[in-house]
């Protein structure tokens, strides 16, 4: 990347829309989405099914053409490229799929060699050697001669990953890449993606309906609802302090909203050091308030501890207690939200 491009996002979507059909039967899958992905980051797009995630990720490599807006990769407008130039671009963008999309008629090795053969100009021994190296990297060195049907789901996805990496892409697009896998295999796959991101500086854009995926590996996340981005930011921020009902629904975090409660309902949000300090008991004692815990969660996001408690406060000096929490670096949200 040239020095002039250093500050330029690797991927930029500018006010992109995609509408299927025309006239009265037209349906908008993506509506006016703008986002940018920096080189080296793992960017997640989360949403429920039908939110437009699949369309959105396919707009990035132009498998879907936008009906409005611009798609820029390293500052280059993909829609303005010739068919040849677009194909050359796509070779620099790997993609893996929910259902793996391997060629059933080819061996594991040939599947990985496939994109290298498309490129032309490479010698056959060179292609096979590169394909073997990639299979070793994803831990499938011993399965080169098998056919996809002989592999488990997790193994198939790793073949898909090796294939996506074959041409040394700058970007990896993951279309619900772990949704068809069991939780353990899914976790291994995410760890592998995370390792590739660190080792190769690989930029990853993934779409998913599982918060766990975002929590485990993403740096930033966009929440998609009905084709629009309704919330976007650093994963820790969005997790700790979800603003939209859809985000809380995806976080399965709306249990505290049920039922009438006595006292003042507050949500305490803390991250980092504050998670370990015995704040709750101390502040309750010092201000004379009583608390009753309604819901809570303490976990980590990409290694950083965070916590979230929903409680009601009664008696004593509630305002003073809330001020003390804020002083200690805890974010306070009042009411059900």
């Amino acid at each position: 990347m040239g020095p002039a491009l250093v500050d330029r996002p690797l991927i930029e979507l500018i006010d992109v829309s995609k509408t299927y059909g025309a006239g009265a039967s037209a349906t908008a899958a993506v509506r006016g989405v703008s986002l940018s992905v920096q080189s080296g980051e793992i960017f997640g797009v989360i949403g429920e099914s039908g939110a437009g995630k699949s369309t959105l990720i396919r707009l990035i490599n132009l498998l879907e053409r936008p009906t409005a807006g611009r798609v820029l990769i390293e500052g280059e407008d993909l829609c303005s490229l010739t068919a040849d130039a677009l194909r050359a671009r796509r070779r620099r963008m790997g993609m893996i799929f929910q259902h793996f999309n391997l060629l059933a008629s080819k061996t594991v090795l040939e599947n990985v060699a496939f994109p290298l053969r498309l490129e032309g100009g490479l010698s056959n021994p060179g292609i096979l050697e590169r394909a073997r190296t990639l299979l070793d990297r994803v831990g499938l060195g011993g399965h080169a001669k098998k056919y996809p049907a002989q592999l488990s789901g997790g193994q198939k996805q790793r073949v898909g990953l090796a294939r996506a990496l074959a041409c040394g892409p700058a970007v990896l697009l993951c279309d619900e890449a772990t949704s068809a896998l069991d939780p353990q295999t899914s976790a291994q796959m995410l760890d592998l993606l995370s390792a590739l991101n660190r080792e190769l500086g690989l930029t990853i854009v993934l779409i998913t309906h599982e918060m766990e995926v975002v929590r485990r590996i993403c740096d930033r996340v966009a929440v998609l609802e009905a084709g629009q981005i309704v919330e976007m930011g650093e994963v820790v921020e969005v997790f700790l302090d979800p603003r939209r009902p859809i985000t809380r629904r995806l976080l399965r975090d709306d249990q505290a909203e049920a039922g009438p409660v006595e006292g003042r309902l507050v949500r305490l949000i803390y991250r980092g050091e504050a998670t370990r300090a015995p704040l709750l008991g101390r502040i309750a004692r010092e201000t004379g308030v009583d608390y009753s815990l309604l819901a809570g969660r303490i976990s980590t996001i990409k290694g950083e501890p965070y916590g979230q408690l929903t409680l009601t406060l009664t008696g004593g000096d509630v305002d003073a207690a809330l001020a003390r929490f804020a002083e200690a670096g805890v974010r306070v949200r009042e009411g059900a939200s």
Binding site: L63, R90, A149
Partner: protein, 221 residues
């Protein structure tokens, strides 16, 4: 043996068998050569496919439907002037091949179209995402993925062609069908009829068995 098959001239049977085999091989290979691209074109030009072209698709589809709806016995007769223009005669093995191909190629093309339609769309999308050109997608992804289906389509067509060759015998093509009609039916030589039918049956069995084995062999699913 000779007491049972009094009317059977084994020399004639051999000649007729060779004629049938030649008709089958000639017409099957031309049917595949012409029908495969036609089937690929039918598939690719359909709505939502790689080279979507509604009008081309409609025209191809119409031509195929017209050819497929003409009964083969009528096609044999209608084709006579065309056949004479193409190969110089409407008789014998050469004379039989043009109508056989015209009868079977549209049928084969439809089978090819449905074999391609059965290919996982995801595999095509993946190839596209890797920067494959349309011709690379067709030659390196679509056709290899459809191979078992294409072999099955060829088998079905070959078997259909065997019965077509028997019909072609009626307009002077020779072969086992011709023998069955001229001797077995018209001269009431039941033994000739039985022998030719049994030979045709064996031929069909062999074609189907070989086809099934090959389909299985190429099926990696």
């Amino acid at each position: 043996m000779s007491a049972l098959f009094t009317h059977v001239d084994w020399g004639d049977i051999l000649t007729a068998s060779i004629a049938t085999l030649l008709m089958l091989l000639g017409s099957l290979s031309l049917t595949v050569i012409l029908g495969l691209p036609l089937g690929v074109a039918l598939f690719l030009t359909a709505k939502g496919e790689l080279l979507e072209q509604p009008w081309t698709h409609r025209i191809l589809s119409f031509v195929v439907n017209v050819l497929r709806s003409v009964p083969f016995i009528i096609l044999l007769i209608v084709m006579i002037p065309v056949t004479v223009a193409l190969v110089g005669t409407s008789l014998g093995v050469e004379g039989a091949i043009p109508p056989l191909v015209v009868g079977a190629a549209p049928f084969f093309a439809r089978l090819v179209e449905s074999a391609l339609r059965a290919v996982d769309k995801g595999a095509v999308e993946a190839a596209k995402s890797m920067g494959a050109s349309p011709s690379q997608i067709i030659l390196r992804a679509l056709l290899p993925e459809a191979t078992p289906g294409l072999i099955a389509a060829t088998t079905v067509t070959a078997v259909a062609l065997v019965s077509y060759t028997a019909m072609a015998g009626v307009v002077g093509a020779g072969g086992l069908g011709d023998l069955a009609v001229r001797f077995g039916y018209q001269r009431f030589q039941t033994d000739v009829m039985v022998v030719t039918v049994v030979l045709l049956l064996i031929l069909v069995q062999i074609l189907q068995t070989v086809g099934d084995r090959l389909t299985l062999r190429f099926n990696r699913r």
